[in-house]
Symmetry: C3
């Protein structure tokens, strides 16, 4: 029996979000209610969390379940499936008999159906409530460049705000890399800083998270001194949904 | 002495066909007559056959040999050469002294000449004559998607027709994948079914064969219950030539 | 203290040149004078030399040092950095305190700063003065094709001129490859031959050198019988700068 059904004309809204989430967390629940679909999961080493919110408004058609339902997803499989979506594909998510999640890609008469067995999910983390000192919004190019630039010289990157500048800073044996944007630059869309901050984060997680920047119009970054980093990508036709990552700071030894 | 010469203004007609054939069969004859050029070869494990037919009509210039000639090609080498063709390249095939096959890529005054030593070919298989229960024509995208989708979960794929639907079906530990097209869909160009059929085939061969779909306008698929699969790609300016693959069914253990 | 500063609106003029030079030589000096920036270096096995000349005219802004300065660059690092340049990026080169070379990519307010520690360079080779029998200019496509075609069958390629033809020739167990251009062909821009020549060169170096052809409008090739090959790529808005490679002939055993 089909227990819920969510249809979106443009599969691309899910492609990059699921792809990035699936690189960060190994497995994730899919909690389906009359309000929409939500997922919250930590990675195996408890350094990163992914929170995916897809309210019913971001779907073109949404048939809710009669009661709240939960499925468990092997995110590596989900990643492999959504990567197969074409630009022109429509997408449908369905749940069947509390046992299978069905992802359908395609259009009328030409449909590719992927059925994933639901897996057991042990516990679902709560989303942290944090008070950030810095909140900026940047174009996706900036954070993609910054993370990949930093990766040239180190496996850690410092993210900071000072005066009117938001910057990344990485240092290694080979040299230093400092990608930065300043207030007034087109690449820096919003910039709110309560106090100067500089905190170090592990680059390998950031490299996976920025996959979601593909297809996003902007990325919100929030952080505080020695606090987790929060990255938020809006998804859906009018940004009704969102994918949020939290990343623990790297403690200097 | 140049024994024959076949010239086509657009090398791309050969690029994808030779490339796909060269991935399926290790070596192949080139039988050259006044009617054109033909090749028939089985792969080393005798699971697949490739039949390439290039009648003189598909060439812009064709100078036949005085008698039937046969050369033997190391298809891996041919594949490596045709992959080097640019979109704008012209192509000329020549045979010399029964010892060398010459492939020329380029245009006036700018020519890249590749000379391959002819190798001995032991025997040339006959093309099978089969009575198929199902014959469909699909857009290349569909078969490419279907094969790659199936590859996500298994190394075998079932190909079938049931009612008004033509489908692929693959099942593995991770889940199930069912790409399908229905009568009336734009992706399904023709659909003739005498009886419902479902037969399993090895995916690794199919992955190589669908390389020929690049640049093809459509693909004809024929099969029967527990019979070989036949894939046909038309090649040439008006589809005068064709590349046909036969693939033995996978016997369930 | 910033000791010199060279700014160009289009980073792409440097991207391919530095990238190719960095694949051929492991380390290189950066000699900065009031006339511009020059670099000369041999590869570790002394088979190839790269000479990069960037006169002040090729920069949009050039602030020379008060005296001649020299920095040493780890070219692998430089290659990794310039590869990160976007098409729209501006580029600035700076030297600081005789200890760091700074490469800045970006545009107003959005800047990525890369700092490389200067390394010791033992000795700087002189550019050879040679009397070549053959000088041709070809479109970049031709030399890229020729080198990659030759690579299909051998690790050595003969470069030659005979009559009105300039050619590459490679021979291996699998066959022969002969890319060629003739006087009058669009791909052969200039052709001056004092005597017929054919000299063998190692392909692996050529494969690295032709990376500079990307973005170049033409490539000048000079050679003589059993002499080094010289490849010259013009760089900059009006070709004010140039990158020259010298490659020792391969002695037949």
């Amino acid at each position: 029996m089909v227990e819920f059904r969510a249809y979106q004309e443009e599969a691309r809204y899910f492609k990059y979000a699921f792809n990035a989430a699936g690189k960060v967390v190994e497995e994730a629940p899919l909690i389906v209610t009359e309000n929409g679909i939500v997922s919250r999961a930590m990675d195996a080493s408890h350094i990163a969390m992914a929170v995916l919110e897809m309210p019913w408004e971001m779907f073109d058609e949404y048939e809710p379940p009669s009661d709240e339902l939960m499925y468990g997803l092997d995110m590596e499989e989900v990643t492999r499936i959504v990567r197969r979506a074409r630009v022109t594909d429509e997408i449908t998510l369905e749940g069947e008999d509390e046992e299978e999640v069905i992802i359908k890609l395609g259009s009328s008469g030409y449909e590719r159906e992927f059925r994933l067995r639901s897996i057991d999910i042990d516990d679902i983390p709560d989303e942290p409530e944090l008070d950030f000192a810095v909140e900026v919004t940047v174009v996706p190019d900036f954070i993609q460049d910054a993370v990949r630039d930093a990766d040239l010289v180190s496996d850690t990157v410092k993210v900071g705000a000072k005066g009117n500048t938001f910057y990344f800073k990485a240092e290694g044996e080979r040299g230093r890399v400092i990608p930065k944007v300043q207030e007034g630059a087109e690449a820096l869309l919003t910039f709110e800083v309560e106090e100067d901050v500089e905190t170090a984060y592990p680059l390998d997680y950031l490299k996976d998270m920025i996959q979601a920047a593909q297809g996003a119009e902007s990325v919100r970054i929030r952080l505080g001194q020695d606090m987790p980093l929060e990255l938020t990508f809006r998804i859906g036709p009018a940004g009704e949904g969102k994918l949020t990552f939290y990343l623990a700071p790297r403690v200097e030894e």
